[in-house]
């Protein structure tokens, strides 16, 4: 019933036709095959004034006609297989993903390869997908997803002026400026046999792998340059408040982090951040302070790697590797009247962590937790392939990130964790993004350190009330001139 995976068979194959080795996870007993086809191109490669070009090009490949088939024909062919292929464009990577039952492998692969090699870039597909993307920014992101808006503003503020400085989807002006020729030109220069990594997992065989490689090898042999990302970390806190009507305030804040996956201090910071705010986990400290003790919101989390769609996933995603990462805190919506208090409460905890580090008890419990909890991060073949693809990006050798992380956690000492915290956590340089209908009043209150007492509908223990007194007057050290209020309609306009 089960198969133990191994590397490609020792039978000497011809030199691989693609510039980069494939990422392989054969599981012979698996009745399905998982695909990841990643190109080293992303929104960082959008030309100035055409922000959104990478995402729109990829969408037209995954959700448009090819030169052989209309899009309705493609949908009809995929339908009985219950299979599809999707594409994700992140700052640095464009990844096509899919999974299919072996029964349908040949027919599915033909469709997937056709989409990548022979997109038609039909005018009607361009208009349909452009409009969907524009509505995604102008209607959904601006008006119907405050939390995602807050996070997007945090990242674009920190990385303003760099190729990371706009959302993957693009900007309104950039999307409107994109022509059919732009898409074709971008495709030809960006999807190349030199910048593609083929990932396969599950029940495929050697002949199938060879055929896939042969087909992808007809892609041209150029690839876009990788732009430098020079980020200024700032010397003080800055705030951007998006002025938008609504009963609740969304809060995200963060600062650039010099450590990334594969670095020696990653495990230490990962552990510290897990203690502070493991995603969707009630044991984390911020959750205990803001939700559990005070009932202010639904959850409070912290990250050292980009974690998109946090409201819809339990565990970290794959396929979004980045050279530049933030330490990030996500405070889920709080009532407007408690926004200032919530920001103070969260920042105070991060300041305290940065200053004092973890206790031995906190360290030991979090290590124990992570050694098992991280087993859930990649429990399918498709996810394991995804992690291995990301290992390739970060240059992490076998046995790969998760296994090395667990190994590092097991050997980690409290001193190492606290040294990494002291060295890398700089909340005094945080950029804070908020979405609130009381933007001006909030800006004035934060800028003048106005006390922000909290009241409760129900009784609270004395120790909570005593701590509230400290939180309500906690100095954030933010000057009014470092707070910008932005009308929501201008967000990502250009």
């Amino acid at each position: 019933m089960s198969g133990c995976a191994h590397t490609r068979s020792a039978a000497a194959p011809a030199a691989p036709p693609l510039a980069q080795e494939p990422v392989l996870l054969p599981v012979p007993a698996d009745p399905t095959v998982s695909f990841r086809i990643a190109f080293a191109v992303g929104s960082q490669n959008d030309p100035a004034g055409k922000e959104g070009l990478a995402a729109l090009t990829a969408a037209m490949m995954a959700e448009g006609a090819t030169t052989k088939r209309s899009y309705p024909e493609i949908l009809r062919a995929l339908y009985p297989m219950a299979a599809d292929y999707t594409v994700r464009v992140d700052r640095e990577r464009t990844t096509f993903s899919g999974r299919v039952h072996k029964d349908n492998l040949a027919a599915y692969t033909e469709l997937l390869v056709d989409a990548i090699l022979h997109p038609a870039f039909a005018a009607s597909d361009l208009e349909r997908l452009r409009q969907r993307t524009l509505d995604g920014i102008e209607k959904t992101l601006r008006y119907a997803s405050d939390e995602e808006l807050g996070k997007a503003v945090l990242y674009t503020t920190v990385f303003a002026g760099t190729p990371y400085g706009h959302p993957e989807a693009g900007t309104v002006a950039g999307l409107r400026a994109i022509t059919s020729d732009d898409v074709r030109t971008f495709y030809r220069s960006s999807f190349s046999r030199d910048n593609v990594v083929l990932g396969l997992g599950g029940g495929y065989d050697e002949a199938f792998l060879a055929a896939m490689q042969r087909q992808l090898a007809i892609l041209p042999a150029s690839a876009p340059a990788v732009p430098e990302i020079e980020v200024a970390s700032g010397d003080r806190r800055r705030v951007v408040i998006v002025d938008k009507p609504g009963p609740a305030t969304a809060i995200s804040f963060g600062f650039p982090l010099a450590v990334r996956r594969g670095d020696s201090e990653f495990a230490a910071l990962f552990l510290a951040t897990s203690w502070l705010g493991e995603h969707r986990n009630s044991s984390s400290h911020l959750y205990q302070v803001i939700r559990e003790a005070r009932g202010m919101n639904y959850g409070d989390y912290a990250y050292i790697e980009w974690f998109p769609e946090g409201g819809r996933r339990d565990f970290p995603p794959t396929g979004v590797p980045r050279r530049r990462q933030l330490f990030e805190v996500w405070v889920r919506p709080v009532p407007n009247a408690q926004a200032h208090f919530a920001l103070r409460a969260a920042m105070r905890e991060v300041d305290t962590l940065a200053a004092k580090g973890l206790t031995r008890e906190q360290f030991e419990l979090t290590r124990q937790f992570l050694l098992k909890y991280s087993l859930h991060y990649a429990d399918t073949t498709a996810l394991k392939v995804g992690y291995a693809m990301d290992d390739r990006f970060y240059g992490i050798p076998a046995p790969g990130h998760l296994a090395r992380l667990r190994d590092a956690l097991a050997r980690l000492t409290l001193d190492e964790v606290n040294a990494a915290i002291r060295k890398h956590l700089h909340p005094e340089r945080a950029v804070i993004a908020m979405v609130s209908e009381q933007a001006e009043a909030l800006a004035a209150a934060i800028g003048s350190e106005t006390p922000s007492p909290i009241t409760y509908a129900t009784g609270k223990p004395a120790e909570v009330l005593a701590e509230d007194k400290l939180i309500e007057a906690y100095p954030l050290g933010i000057r009014r001139e470092d707070i910008t209020v932005v009308p929501v309609d201008t967000i990502f306009a250009r």
Binding site: M1, Y71, P80, S283, G295, N297, D379, A388, A457, T458
Partner: protein
């Protein structure tokens, strides 16, 4: 050379084209003397086990006025500990074991799920058995948690879809408890902090062994596990009394509702038809559940027309799922511009009429049957997802036999059955039409 990776997967010994026994795993079903049902599905899963406790109570069972949303609120309280393992102690143990623990509440049931390392299964059985029998928390914690639920409500209200569903359910039902959403009416949520005594009675009435099914999947020893469950849950006293959920009278005529969304949103159009209570042996029901995909799915004529060719609609979705009572089978269109709402509605109506006037292409029906089966099978690629795929069936029917039964019935559905189902279920007289528009321009 490729990266060396090691994994094990559950191999599905499947024949997606076969007729009998679509559910691909061997399983055992036991019932304890107190009525607690235990479904065990051992399968290779890299040393992980999924442990699901399905309480067959959801927002459907909130029959008393003023207590909507209580099943969901109660789900939150289940993490607040017992006398033996008070909240912080319970949290500490769960944390130290690295458990992925969570819960969710739906219209028909409440589900507590834990994804754990196999070696920790005995401990988890002890902890779960303890909280399901001995839940105990101070009033103050209860009140604080009510604030978190209100926060969840606020978070939800920022979604236009959420507002739309709230309005549709309220309009579509007069007496049945499907009238309210799972999170409940806002006024009831606001009053939750005062409901401490009611919460205790809620626990006594619904958290009983004869209303709960445990599903265990993954790497474990069934005999030893059953013995442990017997030991830890054996003393739990039965006594579930089903609430008297008022049946909804047959709907007489189309209903409609307009929803204003404070903010900007693409206009949403919902056609919510009264469906059918779940019965896996019913060909009417099986045919009805296929209608959403067949008539409005991404290979349908109307999808091609509205989404791909005319581009009046950005997304077209249909959900014709199973419910314990007569639920809503909904078609939702995310419309590009308000001026096109009528045209979209007419096109969707025309699609429904076409389905009523003639049977579908037999090849399209067979494609859909294949799709449904592959979908079900391919979803089950971890122990957790096997249990997760079964939870709703377990909750509605009390077991997993309904899975194979439904697939067997579906295999027999003919094009004529589909036409008959379209005439019956896609009747305008059984539907509620809802339109949502942003009120800020």
């Amino acid at each position: 050379m490729g990266v060396k990776l090691v994994t094990l997967v559950a191999a599905l010994t499947l024949a997606a084209g076969g007729e009998a026994g679509v559910f691909p795993f061997a399983h055992q079903v036991h019932r304890l003397d107190n009525g607690l049902k235990v479904i065990m599905i051992p399968l290779p899963s890299e040393g992980l086990v999924a442990y699901y406790s399905v309480v067959r109570t959801g927002s459907r069972d909130e029959v008393e006025p003023g207590h909507t949303g209580f099943a969901h609120f109660f789900e939150h309280m289940m993490f607040r500990g017992t006398e033996k393992y008070p909240g912080p102690v319970y949290d500490g143990i769960i944390t130290s074991l690295g458990v992925s623990a969570n819960a969710y509440t739906t219209d028909d049931y409440t589900c507590y799920h834990m994804n754990i390392a196999s070696v920790d299964l005995p401990r988890i059985i002890e902890l779960e058995a303890d909280r399901f029998q001995n839940l105990s928390y101070p009033e103050r914690e209860f009140q604080t948690e009510a604030g978190a639920v209100y926060g969840e409500y606020r978070k939800g209200r920022t979604s236009p879809f959420w507002l739309l569903f709230e309005a549709v359910q309220d309009k579509a039902y007069d007496v049945h408890t499907y009238k309210h959403t799972t999170i409940g009416f806002e006024r009831d949520i606001a009053a939750m902090p005062t409901m401490y005594d009611y919460a205790k009675s809620f626990f006594r009435r619904f958290y009983r062994p004869d209303n709960v099914v445990i599903v265990v999947t993954g790497d474990f020893d069934p005999a030893a596990t059953l013995a442990l469950i017997n030991k830890q849950y054996g003393a739990w006293t039965p006594g579930y009394v089903a609430p008297e959920v008022q049946p909804e009278p047959e709907q007489q005529g189309e209903r409609s509702v307009e929803v204003g969304y404070e903010g900007r949103s693409l206009p949403l159009l919902a056609l919510a038809y009264k469906g059918e209570r779940f019965d896996p042996a019913s060909r009417d029901l099986a045919a009805g559940m296929l209608l959403g995909d067949l008539v409005f799915g991404e290979t349908s004529d109307v999808y091609r027309q509205l989404v791909l060719e005319q581009r009046l609609v950005q997304r077209l979705m249909a959900d014709f799922g199973p419910n314990r009572d007569v639920g809503l089978w909904s078609v939702i269109a995310v419309v590009g511009q308000e001026k096109d709402l009528d045209a979209v509605r007419h096109a969707l109506d025309a699609a429904a009429r076409t389905a009523q006037d003639a049977p579908p292409d037999p090849a399209a029906l067979e494609d859909l049957k294949r799709r449904v089966r592959y979908q079900f099978l391919m979803d089950m690629d971890t122990a957790d997802k096997v249990a997760g795929s079964l939870a709703r069936f377990v909750a509605i029917t009390g077991g997993i036999e309904a899975v194979d039964a439904l697939f067997a019935t579906t295999a027999q559905v003919t094009p004529a059955d589909i036409q008959a189902a379209a005439r019956r279920y896609l009747a305008t007289g059984r539907r509620t039409v809802a339109v949502l528009k942003g009120v800020q321009r």
